[in-house]
């Protein structure tokens, strides 16, 4: 995936950090591919600039030491390295401000590419995709008062709620698919004094993702068997004259903020379809 230049509309999406509306699958995927390519390039450049900025800062320190034996020449190099470190730091910060959640390219894009296969050509998909990272300040739901835990004398837990992906689509088999993904994050900053009497802080993260999927299956086409759900899934069935709706909720725990495996979302939809057989009236 090459990092394409973003079209003005795509730039606006990245600036707003939200993509919401009704799109054809082709148009939606095209937008997401461009945004994902931009984000991947952004990440790579940020990593590079960050590395160079640290190297320039280290060079400043070394040159200041070398200034004792080498005098002015080392000071000039130190000054140049300092300016480079500042410029790279500013560039890094600008790129960090434009960073979007990896959920877009690692989960939403592959999931929608799969959903597209079950859409009739030209069918619309409704999506609401939040591009901001899970620990964005706007998603903060609470901060605990500082407390002590084990060897850490000060622990502060910050919780976030990131309802980042929801959508719906009418599939080619006349089923209606809806999905909703919410991440609950607890970021724990744990500080303690080291032996050298300096404060050291570590950050731990815990993420709980809830994937809710409903598939409203036309009774004319499918017979739905209730059956027991898999241990990690909650299942509910609702039926009326026209449709049987299979509702599934899956929860996933992780000790980092990495995106969930898109397969978890695909599996949850597949679980609804595992319960169906063609209705007798549907066979030709």
């Amino acid at each position: 995936m090459q990092g394409p230049a973003l079209a003005p509309a795509q730039r606006a999406v990245v600036a707003r950090r939200r993509l919401a509306g009704e799109f054809t699958a082709e148009a939606l995927l095209e937008q997401l591919r461009a945004i994902a390519g931009f984000d991947a390039d952004n990440d790579a450049r940020r990593q590079r600039y960050g590395g160079f900025a640290i190297a320039a800062f280290v060079a400043v320190v070394i040159c200041l030491f070398l200034a004792i034996p080498f005098g002015r020449a080392a000071l000039v190099v130190a000054l140049a390295a300092f300016v480079a470190a500042i410029v790279l730091g500013v560039l890094w910060k600008r790129l960090a401000a434009a960073d979007i959640s990896d959920n877009v390219r690692d989960v939403a894009l592959p999931f929608l590419a799969i959903v597209k296969q079950d859409l009739a050509p030209g069918a619309m998909v409704s999506v609401d995709l939040d591009l901001a990272p899970a620990t964005d300040a706007a998603k903060r739901t609470g901060v605990s008062p500082p407390y002590a835990r084990g060897s850490y004398t000060k622990v502060v837990d910050t919780s976030y709620r990131d309802a980042w992906f929801s959508g719906s689509a009418r599939l080619a088999d006349a089923s209606v698919l809806r999905w909703h993904v919410v991440d609950e994050v607890i970021e724990s900053k744990r500080s303690k004094r080291s032996r050298s009497n300096k404060w050291k802080t570590k950050t731990h993260e815990v993420k709980r993702s809830a994937i809710a999927v409903s598939v409203a299956l036309p009774t004319k086409t499918y017979a739905v068997a209730a059956g027991a759900a898999k241990p990690n899934l909650k299942l509910a069935l609702a039926a009326d004259d026209k449709r049987t709706t299979v509702k599934l909720v899956r929860k996933i725990k992780a000790k980092d903020l990495d995106p969930i495996d898109p397969r978890a979302l695909i599996d949850t939809v597949a679980e609804a379809y595992r319960r169906v057989t063609p209705a007798r009236s549907a066979t030709p």
Binding site: A113, K116, D118, A172, D173, P278, P284
Partner: protein, 125 residues
């Protein structure tokens, strides 16, 4: 004109319905433009191309995915091979999908379905 024998869909397979423009050089199914793999110069269907691409060990595993239709067909093959038996809602079954143990035909009455092929997979799916 012969219809395309490839199937669309992921969670549920359905007939493509488009007129065929050629025949896959690997599986001999008729295929429409949408179901022909462009990278194969339209000589193979997307399913066969995806299977072949997956077997290609020279492919860089770290390359960035583009998540296009070719990727989706490749993923579909992997997903079905890993145990998902897709439900089929169409009228013209093809034995190509027998490997995936497509569910509907194990349950439906064989005499009701026009598969156009003696190996439609009723008994062996």
């Amino acid at each position: 004109m012969m219809p395309c024998e490839c199937k669309s869909g992921f969670f549920a397979l359905r007939d493509c319905g488009e007129p065929a423009l050629g025949q896959c050089s690997v599986c001999s199914r008729t295929m429409c433009r949408e179901h022909a793999a462009i990278e194969s110069q339209l000589s193979q269907c997307r399913d066969c191309w995806a299977r072949q691409a997956q077997a290609d060990t020279t492919r860089d595993p770290n390359r960035r995915e583009v998540y296009d239709d070719d990727w989706a067909y490749s993923y579909r093959h992997r997903y079905y091979a890993a145990g998902y038996a897709p439900v089929y809602t169409g009228h013209h079954y093809h034995h190509y999908y027998d490997d995936y143990d497509t569910r509907s035909f194990a349950q439906a009455d064989a005499s009701e379905i026009d598969d156009g092929d003696i190996r439609a997979g009723f008994g062996d799916s």
